[in-house]
Every structure is written in structure tokens, then in C-alpha cells.
């Protein structure tokens, strides 16, 4: 135990110095395609020793950089999200935030999803209310796949008289 403490403290010492300016900055995603894998490294990360180890291993990413082919699905050669993937990618990568905001009937992730789906801002409140009402079904679909979530949302929008008109305009 003592040895572990000493090792841990030693690591803290080195890591803290190393952190100068660099900071714990684990960018884990190239921004596209990796989906939930992007956060695979973040386990137990608030415990001190693993936290410091994380700062030291610091999976700081350079992939998805401008010039290179990222090779992950949903990305262009130059590290941006493909236009036709934007909505499902967003739904996939923000699922926890989206479902929380759906239940709460508002929020920036939900507003952003609505924007990506082409819902005009004056109809956002109606869109939020609809997602709150259909929360259970949307979460179920979202847990299967983000494509299913977006599809259910699109269907719901097209069946809602107010939203359907607003989107088709």
C-alpha cells in the first residue's frame, strides 16, 4: 500500500509538472465516425491515481487533421463530417445529452438537432414538446441506433401538422 502511495505521489509530481501549459487535454475523437468509442478511455477518471495516469497517457489525438485521410466512416478526407451524416452523427455522439433534454423539454443539443433536421427556430418549442411526449419511444429507438432515432424523429415531424408544414417550407 505504502509503495502504491509513493508511486502514485511520484507520478503526481511528474505529471503535474508535465501538465504545465499542456494541461490534461485528452482529445479522444478525430471528430468523426468513432462514435461512443471516442470515450472508451474515460473510466474511473475522477479517482486520483487513474486520473493522473490519464493525464500522463493523455490520448491527445491528432487524427482527423486537415490534410490526412481519416479513414473513419462519416468523415471527409479532410476531417469534416460528411453533410449527409451530420444529423445521425450528432444524434449518436450526443445521445445522453439529447435524451436528457428531450425529457426536460428543451436544451441546446435538442435545438441543434432540430436545426440539423431543418426545423425552423420558431417551431423549436413545438419540436421540443413533441420529443418530450415521445421520450420513451425515442430513447428505445436511439438505443438501437442513431439512424433509428433520427428516422423516428423525422416520422414524428412529418406526422405533426405544424412541424411538417414548417419543415417542408
Amino acid at each position: 500500500m505504502l509503495r502504491q502511495v509513493i508511486v502514485a505521489l511520484g507520478v503526481v509530481a511528474v505529471a503535474s509538472q508535465a501538465g504545465l501549459a499542456m494541461a490534461a487535454n485528452p482529445d479522444t475523437g478525430p471528430g468523426c465516425g468513432l462514435g461512443k468509442l471516442a470515450w472508451a478511455d474515460y473510466k474511473n477518471q475522477k479517482n486520483i491515481a487513474p486520473q493522473v495516469m490519464m493525464a500522463t497517457t493523455n490520448g491527445t489525438f491528432g487524427s482527423g487533421t486537415f490534410g490526412i485521410s481519416s479513414g473513419t466512416s462519416g468523415c471527409t478526407n479532410d476531417g469534416q463530417v460528411m453533410a449527409d451524416q451530420k444529423t445521425t452523427m450528432f444524434a449518436l455522439l450526443n445521445f445522453e445529452n439529447l435524451t436528457q433534454e428531450m425529457a426536460q423539454g428543451k436544451g441546446e443539443h435538442l435545438a441543434s438537432l432540430a436545426t440539423l433536421m431543418g426545423v425552423p427556430s420558431e417551431q423549436h418549442a413545438a419540436f421540443f414538446a413533441m420529443t418530450q411526449e415521445r421520450y420513451t419511444a425515442l430513447v428505445q429507438d436511439g438505443e438501437t441506433s442513431s439512424v433509428a432515432l433520427v428516422k423516428t424523429l423525422n416520422d414524428a415531424v412529418s406526422k405533426s401538422p405544424v412541424l411538417a408544414q414548417a419543415v417542408s417550407r
Binding site: 501549459a21 487535454n25 475523437g29 493525464a55 476531417g79 445522453e96 441543434s112
Partner: protein, 633 residues
């Protein structure tokens, strides 16, 4: 017939022109004009190629990727690089990491040289750069915002922060800002580097790359996972400057920089990008030894008219702590019940509240369950299931959550003191008087003015104090600090992180016969802290600690022991803080002895970068009073 002959003549003329002036001739003409205009000596060219003047004349580029240079000597020869660049503009050969013709890989160089030398499109055919144009259009750029995630709660390794840029989209609202792309510079560190990481990091063993990660992923990383508050500084960049910024960022995609934690880090290369976007800014030259992200934020905020708007984006912990202030005691109790057992979300106790209060209680509970899930792997799955249950109950209420403005606990970083400190002072020690001068490289201690810094955290690196004792007529190194970290995490019903500290350095002690003796010590402790608001804000702390000492003063040269310390600090007024602590240590190994210490210190802030301190410390039979004036620089 007449028309035909004219056409024929025109063709022949065109052919003859081409024959008379092949690319080689036009190239040498361009090179000559560039020479005459001394373009290779201009600031613009140096910014484009990241040249820095060498100590003894000449230039070296900070770029470390050979693919960035079109001349083999490009890294150290601005003129050769310019000549080679002009030649490559005539070629469709693919260059750089992105494998494009030079005109497309280096769009900013091309655009600038074209303006300077007025390229003749007929003689130097412009290429269409579809990849660049698609990429550029993808940003829908309208504005540029500097993003500064502040320190990682409880992790001083991140206390220096991080910076990146967000390219704000046209038509974006505060609600949809997360859709914008960022421009981020980071080291590419292989997984599981372990202890090699700091070493390679410090000595430039990694390559740093620019990337365009959507802002929503960065927000998730900092807000939800690392619990770091984010500050957003919108910059006053017009359309041409934004265009220059993106063109140069595109060029940097063709390259990598060696990554140095201390200087050539995330913030440094962002500054070089901003400098190219607006060459009237002189930023990177202000940082010669290290670049601390918070310092770069202060530097940018100090440029007249540059920062137009500042916004704050709270971390989940800040969110919960602020929301909690709006709960009554019984509502708080309910939140705790729902957190323990999600089924309580539909209990009568919750349902008996007014609808908006039900919503608020469930929202806080949901935030807290998410926080717990992110924090602990073992709890992640059950926390997600619990949160679903709470959110299902929440969705049945059918009302949107109220908007609650969330204020930060720490002030914005640009109001903070600068990171290096010099102190001048004097005092008494036992029967002697002394003068003292101290210089500290970085960064912040618990008595330093708090605005702009993460509360309850201290990290000091590289501090040296020199004293002259008048009666003893002796000058000596009084103290040296290699590293001194204190991370206090006040515990309450929701948050229970340990506090910890670590100190590595040398002090002057009195021990036995030895009056002024150097004592090297390493000390680490783990404990807990709590805050109260009796006056303004007070934090109390207690640590169990271990300490090892090395000094000639001890019979066996060393001693190792353990003990405990307690203390508190209190803000007596806005600018006035008091810090007091007491320690008892017993050394069981080596020189068997014990040590009783107490200290009381107070600081008064004169201005953002000026402070006064009066400190008293007692150690064994040693008494020391010190008065100092401190300047941050």
C-alpha cells in the same frame, strides 16, 4: 477567308508566345521580382513559414515536418523556400501530407505571392482547389472565438488550462453554437505511454497536429467528463481575417510541429495562427520560455478591441452546485432520495410539489446521476438505467425546464494575476533581521489573489528565496521549491473527493546545534476539506501526511515520519485573505525527533498584479516574521 486567316494568325501568335516565354522564363522573372521586393525578408513570409530569428543571425522555422517545405533547405532558408515555392506553383506534382498540388496545399502562400507579384494567370495557370473550397465552405465561417477550458477539478496537471478556436457558423445562435467546428492543436500521443509521456512531452518527443473536431465533442469532453468550466472569447475578426486564418490552418494540415509542453504547445501555435490572420498582432514573441494558456488568454484580452464578447459555459459540477442553491432543504432531501433510488421520482413526496418544482428536483437529480455515472465506471451502467427512470418521470410532467442563469464560481481567467512572481521583503527570525527576495516561475498559491484562478488549488513550480541575515552577516538560499501542490476539494452531501497535497523542496531550519541549516524535504498528504460561509467564504482542511527530510543537521542525515495537519483560510474582505495551519510530525526513522509547526499568513491585494503579505511561521523553536511586496509578471 479573312476571318480564318486572322484565327490562324492568332493561333500562331499564341504558340509563338508560348515558345518565347516558357514557364522557366516566367519563373525566373517572378523570382527576380520577389528578390527585388525582398519578399523573403518580410514579416508575412516569416509568419507563413513560422520562421524565428536565430540567436546569432539567420532563421529557423518552427515547423518540423519536411512536407511543409518545398525546398530541402526550407527550414532554415527563407529565400530558398520562396524560390522553390514559386517553382512548385507551376507544377501539378502532389506535395505535403495532404497530397495536393502546391497551389492547393499552400493556398495562403499562393494567395499572398499572387498579390505581391501579380501573377499572370495565362503564364501561371491557377488550379481549382476543390478539396480546399469544400473544406472552407464546410465551416460556414462568420466569426472566430477563442475557447479556454479552465482547470480540471481536483487535477492540478490540468491547472494551466488549454485553448483552441471555434469557427462560428453563419446563422448560429447561442443554442446551436455547439455545431460549429473547432481548430485544435494537440500532440498525437500513442495510448498507454505512461511515464514516457512527461519526458517525451517536455523534450518535444511528440508531434502536434491541427484538427477540426466539432465543438459538441469538445463541450462533452470538458463539461460532462472532465468537469471543467469553459470560457469563450469572441474575437473581432472580419471576413478577410477569418479567410486568412482558415487558409493558413489548411496549410498547417500539411505539417506537424514537435510538441513541447512548456512552449510550443496548443496555445503557442494557435497564437501563430492568429498572428497570420492579423499580422498587426504580435503574440508569439511575448513567449520565449514557456506558454501558459491562461497567459495567452490574458494577452489576447489585453489587445485593444480584439475581444468583443465573453461567454461562460459551466461544467456539470458548477451546474449542479448552482442549481442546488435554488433548492429548499426539503427539496434537497428529495433530490438525495431520488439519486439513491430512482423510483422515488414518482413518489407522492415529489408529486405533492408544484409542477415546476417537481421538474426542477428531477432535473437536479438527473444531473447528479449523470455526474456519478461519468465519475465511476462501476456505476456507469446502473447510473444510466437510473437516469432513464428519472427522465421518464420527468418527461411525464410535460413542461419545459426553466432557464436558470448559471454564474461561475471563478472569475474569468483574463482578470487573474500573471503567472510569474517576484517578492521583496524583510523580517525577523529569532534574534536576527533579514532582507529577502523571492522569484517564482509559476503559478499560483492559496494566498495569491484568487480571481481568474480555480479556487482551492495551489501549484507552485520553481521558486527560489534568497535571504541576507544582518547579525549573522550571512547570505543564503533560504527556500527552494521544486513543486508544491495543494488540491482542496470541499466535501458536501453530493461531492466527496479527497483533498491532497505534495511538496518537494528545501527550507532553512534550526535543529539541535545547527542554526541555519538546509533541509531537503518531500511531503505528501491526503485528507478532506469543507467550506463555510460565516463571513464570506472559508475553507477548512485536514491532512494525514508523510514526510522525509535530508539534512546535515540530523545525526543520521535523514529522518522519515508521519503526522497530521489542520488549517483553514478565510476571505476577510474582498482583497484580504487569511491562511492558518498547524502541523505535528513525528519521525520514527533516522533522526528520531518530532516537529510542531504553525503558520499564519495574510495577503492584501493592491491591484491585479500587486499584493502585500505578512506571514508568521513557527517551527520547532524557530520563529519567523516576514513582510513582502509581491509583483506578478
Amino acid at each position: 477567308m479573312h476571318v480564318l486567316s486572322i484565327l490562324l494568325a492568332a493561333c500562331l501568335w499564341a504558340i509563338s508566345v508560348q515558345a518565347e516565354e516558357p514557364p522557366a522564363a516566367y519563373l525566373s522573372q517572378l523570382r527576380q521580382r520577389a528578390h527585388e521586393a525582398r519578399l523573403a525578408d518580410s514579416r508575412e513570409w516569416h509568419l507563413l513559414l513560422h520562421y524565428r530569428a536565430n540567436l546569432f543571425g539567420g532563421y529557423t522555422s518552427e515547423q518540423d515536418d519536411p512536407g511543409f517545405f518545398l525546398s530541402p533547405d526550407g527550414k532554415t532558408d527563407p529565400q530558398a523556400e520562396l524560390d522553390a515555392t514559386l517553382a512548385h506553383f507551376f507544377s501539378s506534382e502532389l506535395v505535403g501530407r495532404s497530397k495536393q498540388p502546391a497551389q492547393c496545399a499552400f493556398v495562403a502562400r499562393y494567395a499572398w505571392l499572387k498579390t505581391q507579384l501579380s501573377f499572370d494567370d495565362a503564364l501561371l495557370k491557377p488550379l481549382t482547389c476543390d478539396r480546399f473550397h469544400a473544406w472552407f465552405a464546410g465551416f460556414e465561417a462568420e466569426a472566430v472565438t477563442l475557447i479556454f477550458p479552465s482547470a480540471f477539478m481536483n487535477n492540478p496537471a490540468s491547472m494551466f488550462g488549454h485553448t483552441f478556436l471555434r469557427i462560428d457558423q453563419r446563422g448560429q445562435t447561442p443554442q446551436t453554437r455547439i455545431l460549429a467546428y473547432t481548430i485544435n492543436f494537440a500532440a498525437d500521443v500513442p495510448k498507454n505511454e505512461g511515464l514516457a509521456y512527461p519526458v517525451r512531452g517536455i523534450f518535444g518527443g511528440y508531434s502536434g497536429y491541427f484538427s477540426t473536431i466539432p465543438y459538441y465533442l469538445k463541450v462533452q469532453e470538458y463539461r460532462d467528463i472532465e468537469n471543467r468550466d469553459i470560457w469563450e472569447y469572441q474575437l473581432n475578426f472580419d471576413e478577410p481575417k477569418i479567410r486568412r486564418l482558415l487558409m493558413h490552418a489548411w496549410e498547417l494540415g500539411n505539417a506537424s510541429f514537435d510538441y513541447f509542453f512548456f512552449k510550443e504547445n496548443c496555445s503557442y501555435h494557435l497564437l501563430s495562427l492568429l498572428e497570420y490572420a492579423d499580422p498587426s498582432l504580435h503574440l508569439t514573441e511575448q513567449f520565449s520560455v514557456w506558454t501558459i494558456p491562461a497567459d495567452t488568454v490574458r494577452l489576447l484580452a489585453a489587445q485593444p478591441g480584439l475581444v468583443t464578447d465573453t461567454a461562460f459555459r459551466p461544467s456539470r459540477v458548477t451546474l449542479i452546485r448552482r442549481k442546488r442553491e435554488h433548492l429548499s432543504v426539503s427539496e434537497h432531501e428529495l433530490v438525495m432520495r431520488v439519486v439513491r433510488d430512482a423510483a422515488a421520482a414518482q413518489s407522492d413526496d415529489v408529486r405533492s410539489l408544484p409542477l415546476s418544482r417537481q421538474a426542477f428536483v428531477l432535473d437536479v437529480a438527473s444531473d447528479y446521476v449523470r455526474y456519478k455515472g461519468e465519475r465511476d465506471e462501476a456505476e456507469a451502467a446502473s447510473a444510466r438505467a437510473q437516469n432513464r427512470q428519472i427522465l421518464t418521470a420527468r418527461s411525464l410532467l410535460r413542461i419545459p425546464s426553466e432557464d436558470l442563469p448559471i454564474l461561475p464560481f471563478a472569475m474569468q481567467p483574463d482578470v487573474g494575476h500573471r503567472t510569474s512572481r517576484a517578492s521583496l521583503g524583510g523580517g525577523w527570525r529569532n534574534n536576527d533581521t533579514f532582507e529577502e527576495v523571492t522569484v517564482r516561475a509559476a503559478y499560483h498559491d492559496l494566498l495569491d489573489p484568487e480571481p481568474g484562478y480555480t479556487p482551492d488549488a495551489q501549484i507552485e513550480v520553481g521558486s527560489l528565496s534568497l535571504r541576507h541575515y544582518n547579525r549573522a552577516d550571512q547570505s543564503r538560499i533560504e527556500r527552494a521549491t521544486l513543486l508544491n501542490v495543494v488540491s482542496l476539494s470541499p466535501i458536501d452531501r453530493l461531492f466527496r473527493s479527497p483533498s491532497w497535497k505534495l511538496n518537494l523542496g528545501m527550507q532553512t531550519i534550526k535543529h539541535g546545534e545547527c542554526q541555519l541549516c538546509s533541509n531537503w524535504s518531500v511531503n505528501g498528504g491526503i485528507g478532506a476539506s469543507a467550506e463555510t460561509h460565516l463571513l464570506r467564504r472559508e475553507v477548512f482542511f485536514a491532512f494525514a501526511e508523510v514526510e522525509g527530510n535530508y539534512s546535515r543537521a540530523y545525526e543520521e542525515r535523514y529522518r522519515v515520519g508521519g503526522g497530521a495537519s489542520v488549517g483553514f483560510y478565510a476571505d476577510l474582505a474582498e482583497r484580504w485573505r487569511l491562511l492558518a495551519s498547524a502541523t505535528y510530525l513525528r519521525y520514527a526513522l533516522g533522526d528520531r525527533s518530532d516537529d510542531v509547526r504553525w503558520a499564519v499568513g495574510q495577503r492584501y491585494t493592491l491591484a491585479q498584479n500587486w499584493a502585500l503579505r505578512l506571514e508568521y511561521s513557527h517551527r520547532d523553536h524557530d520563529n519567523d516574521v516576514l513582510f513582502t511586496v509581491q509583483a506578478f509578471f
